[in-house]
């Protein structure tokens, strides 16, 4: 479970995130919805400990990221924005490298890599150098790398960017499996359809603040609209400057 508590972050004079709070529960997929520059990536970066919040805190399974960043890193699987993989390593080596960084023994990380290659259907390209990989193959490799240490929680920053329909479907299926297995999945997106098709809960961010949060149906009702896209536009327009 992930919990953001009044997270704030500024870069120089620009305030990227101001007082963002929300909860992402286990066994659910939570979508962080917002336009470009709304503060999605900065919020996620504070959750996965790459940035330190100026104010507020985040709890990963009940433990503060400020007090115990190592615990946070161990219990989070992260797919960063445009997650790059190593071109001169094979898909399998990309996975085992992160297994090693997470402290898995050689036998353990190799077994885990084989398991993920099977699970994500990566067998055809698992032992090829990543140099010529398609976007879909790169995403699967990066995802497997994020899951190598069996994290309870998964954070994905705009995972569907640049993917074709088939790859998006594949990702949706994998995220669905992870939800069934009781994982907490939080992903950011600016694409309504995706959020609509995948998410149980949605957190809408605009101007560095949460303007709406809750189950999809609630958000639609609250905005007085049926379509999420219209709800999103009216919510961000109305509440762009105010805290919720």
């Amino acid at each position: 479970m992930l919990e953001a508590r009044s997270l704030s972050k500024s870069f120089g004079t620009v305030t990227a995130v101001r007082g963002v709070s929300f909860i992402a529960r286990d066994g659910q997929i939570t979508g962080l919805l917002g336009a470009n520059g709304a503060g999605k990536s900065t919020t996620l970066r504070m959750l996965y400990t790459v940035l330190k919040p100026d104010a507020g805190d985040a709890l990963i399974d009940g433990r503060s990221v400020l007090e115990d960043p190592t615990h946070a890193r161990r219990s989070l699987g992260v797919l960063t924005h445009g997650a790059g993989i190593y071109n001169h390593l094979t898909a399998r080596e990309n996975i085992t490298y992160f297994g090693e960084l997470h402290g898995l023994s050689r036998a353990d990380r190799e077994a885990r890599a084989a398991e993920l290659i099977e699970q994500l259907e990566m067998q055809p390209f698992a032992d090829r150098l990543a140099k010529g990989f398609s976007q879909g193959q790169k995403l699967k490799t990066a995802l497997a790398r994020a899951l190598v240490h069996r994290p309870k929680n998964l954070l994905l920053d705009e995972p569907t960017n640049g993917l074709d329909v088939m790859a998006v479907r594949g990702l949706r299926k994998i995220l669905g499996q992870l939800r069934e297995a009781g994982h907490c999945v939080l992903f950011s997106s600016h694409v309504m359809q995706e959020v609509e098709q995948l998410c149980d809960e949605v957190v809408v961010i605009a101007g560095g603040q949460v303007v709406a949060a809750g189950a999809l149906a609630d958000i639609r009702t609250r905005a007085g609209n049926l379509q999420l896209e219209d709800a999103f536009v009216s919510l961000t327009d109305e509440n762009g400057g105010d805290a919720t």
């Binding site: 790459v50 797919l79 960063t80 790059g84 390593l89 490298y97 960084l101």
Partner: protein, 394 residues
Amino acid sequence: MSLRGIWAVFRKEFRENLRDRRTLLSALVFGPLMGPILVAALMQFNISHAETQYDENLNLSVTHAERAPNLLAYLTARGIDVEKVEFDEAQARAAVAKQTHKIILEIPEDFGARLQDGQPAPVILYSDSSRPFEQRGVARVRALISNYGIEIAQLRFLARGIDPISVLPISVQQIDVSTPSGRSVLLLNMMTYLVLLSMLFGGLYLAIDATAGERERGSLEMLLTAPVPREHLIYGKIAATAAYMFISLILTVTMFSVAISFVGLEKLGFAANLGPRAALTMMACCTPLVLFGAAYLSIVSGFAKSYREAQTYLGLVITIPTLPLMFAGLLGLQAKTSLMFVPFLSQHLLLTTVVRAEQIQPLHIGISVGSTLIYGCVLTWVAGRLYRREGLLG
């Protein structure tokens, strides 16, 4: 604290770059091959040129040779091949400038008459002093002509009943100790410069790829989410860069040792100075520098936003540590204790000492190794601090 992260990063960077042709070429091929071959070829040329210069007759073009038959006979008898030409002053200048004739002697019209009257009789010698290989010949011709003049003077004194010895109060005997081997030392100095530069180049691409390249690819942020202290990530990368520099160093020194053994230095008394023992000493003296070099390059390329930007920076900064070597060459610096605190310069001076087969002082080695290692550790620590900054992601 667990060093697992450092080891994991080191192994991955080392292996990944083994598959990168650019890194491999610069670390294992260009540096270790180019330098030794260049120096060996230059030495071979220098030695064979020096050998021939003294043995061969010298070509001298003489315009209006008919005006000084005795002088020409004197020169011809002393190893000068005289070629008769008909040039005026402008033609002579042009011929030397174009190098169709290298040295031209002009005999003025009144040469014979002035000589007969006991007046100073000038001759004119045209040459191009910007061509160092001609200088030896010019000096030889000048010396012969003035000797000829002295002989004439002595005959004149004799004719007047004066002992010619009394008008030569001082006689200079010049002994030139410059030997082909001595001149080769200059080239061997160049060799130590190439060894150090080749060592730095060995780790250049890995340093760029592991810092600026990793950031550009977007894999750096993923790496930072791993439960490994951030400074350990850069320590691993510096270690891998240092390993490549070390390999490059070993190969370059070995290749120098092999290439120079082909030049035929044994006849110049050099064989012992670049044998296996000297090569090992050179490697040992330079090894502490790999940590310094790796941390230095990693810090600089860590500031770059992209691979290209890092390449531009490093192309410039890679020459900075070798600047003291230039001064050492210009000022003719010798190994002394205070200079052993200067990285790169101390290694250069130690290497030069080894090549000259002179005794190295243990104190010098101790200070050079110790201070260079300390600087390397400080730079590595600085790199670690830089990796803890939030601004690292750019």
